[in-house]
Amino acid sequence: MTAPGRRAVIAGAATSDYPYLPEHSEHAVHGQAADRALADAGLTLADVDGLATAGFFPMYAVGVAEYLGLQPTYLDETNTGGSSFEVLVEHAAHAVEAGAAEVVLVTYGSIQLSQMGRRLGTGGGGGGGIMPGPAVHDALWGNTLVGNYAMAARRHMHEFGTTPEQLAAVAVTMREHAGHNPQAQYRDPITVDDVLGSRLVADPLHKLDCCVISDGGGACIVTTEERARDLRRPPVYVLGASHASTHHLNLSAMGPLTTTAAALSGPRAFARAGVTPADVDVAQIYDSFTITVVLTVEDLGFCAKGEGGAFVEDGGLGLGGRLPTNTDGGGLSSCHPGMRGMFLIVEAVRQLRGECGRMQVPEARVAVAHGTGGVLSTGATLVLGREVP
């Protein structure tokens, strides 16, 4: 049991500027996000004793700590791809509850668009190129990152009759949400026909079934309920969390393509939180591709397996819909710098603090942030709440 007052909360959260930051280094994006999240909480770097971040170099967190001038006594750089930041917050929550740290800065920074252009999804052998070791096996066929998700979409259509129109509905709703986010990368409304009329990148996924490529970052502050009591913002409780992986870069090792790691992480996170999917007011779900959202709403238990297509149709993910989702416009329209998981957390916190203006879900009390990483490889679920149920 957690000691009295040591229950983990998120005391501050912020995004950096986005979606295009040609004047920033990757580490400067970390810094801007960190400054804003700390200011949001009413803290400074001097209060931070833990740093958690994920990137693509060994000892990445150590390097970010050095750049920020931190000498932390808690470090975490677990990398599960796009779901990393949900995992890092889960770990940080455990750390503060156990007394291993007091104030953990969880930060993300990327200049994917400025540095690499829009090549992330359509090169390499499914995202990894030819590398030694087991990852070689699926890297020989000219598959792309998009292609992996396309094969899951094709299989879902085959098993359950899911239609391209249903997938497109996800992109249409995300664009509608982005229209209310002045920072979003793409804001002009689109229709289902626009999605289906955009070029096929990897059948059955069209260009507008794919997330955007951006620069950007974000940060949040994980501390204890007691420490948060005299801080600026109402705390957001980390009610429950769990994560899982099913395979790495070999999609051939996944097993059934229509059930993801969310089916493992979701039920455990809800059980730990003491809530059910029916209690969730707002969701932030990793939308690397439209199919990712369809698979995730099923696997988290918002609808039965196979019913995700019908669930997302007709504004199912919009305000007033079955499950208001990605109220900032998501990776499909707002911002996707490569590992979007941090943006899910920041938007979930804003919803629970009632700061989302036109996109606010009324009386939002329970939020879910679910990250997906790799080639449908990892899933990490955070259940967040305004109070402990």
Binding site: T122, P134, V136, H137, W141, T144, G147, R199, V201, S252
Partner: protein
């Protein structure tokens, strides 16, 4: 967003010599698999202790951690899922667009990723019967492509 080229735009004229298909970096686990393919044979790993059949190649059985041995496979399978790649910026693949990437369930059980060749991309379907054919990619390695059975 200014300053970025449209990925769908025609690539600049490329008069470099054709780039060969990538070859796998071999290790002690994988060398027998790709070596067999170089000889025109598709092989899978069998566990005599629990009866499991597996790919990709590991040093032990995925189910019971016993030793495994290589056995010949029939080369027959069915398509579990597939995609038609229509955008890819890396050579040699971008010169082959559009092409089919598929997951094939082998008759013996294991699933492999592959390219489906000798088939109009518009005629591919899940459940389609396919058979292996082989292509050398280095002095030590071949790969198993598949074509309609």
């Amino acid at each position: 967003m200014s300053g970025h080229t449209d990925p769908a735009a025609a690539p600049p004229v490329d008069d470099r010599p054709p780039k060969p298909r990538p070859a796998p970096v071999l290790d002690p686990d994988s060398a027998p698999y790709y070596g067999a393919a170089l000889e025109g044979r598709l092989v899978v790993q069998r566990c005599d202790t629990c009866g499991n059949t597996q790919l990709y190649a590991r040093d032990r059985c995925l189910r019971c951690r016993s030793e495994v041995r290589w056995v010949e496979a029939s080369g027959r399978g069915t398509i579990y899922s597939f995609t038609v790649i229509r955008q890819q910026h890396q050579r040699p693949f971008r010169t082959w667009l559009p092409y089919v990437v598929a997951l094939v369930d082998l008759e013996e059980g294991p699933r492999v990723m592959t390219n489906l060749v000798e088939c109009d991309p518009d005629r591919v379907h899940i459940g389609m019967a396919v058979r292996a054919r082989f292509e050398p990619v280095s002095e030590d390695a071949g790969i198993a492509l598949f074509e309609p059975a």
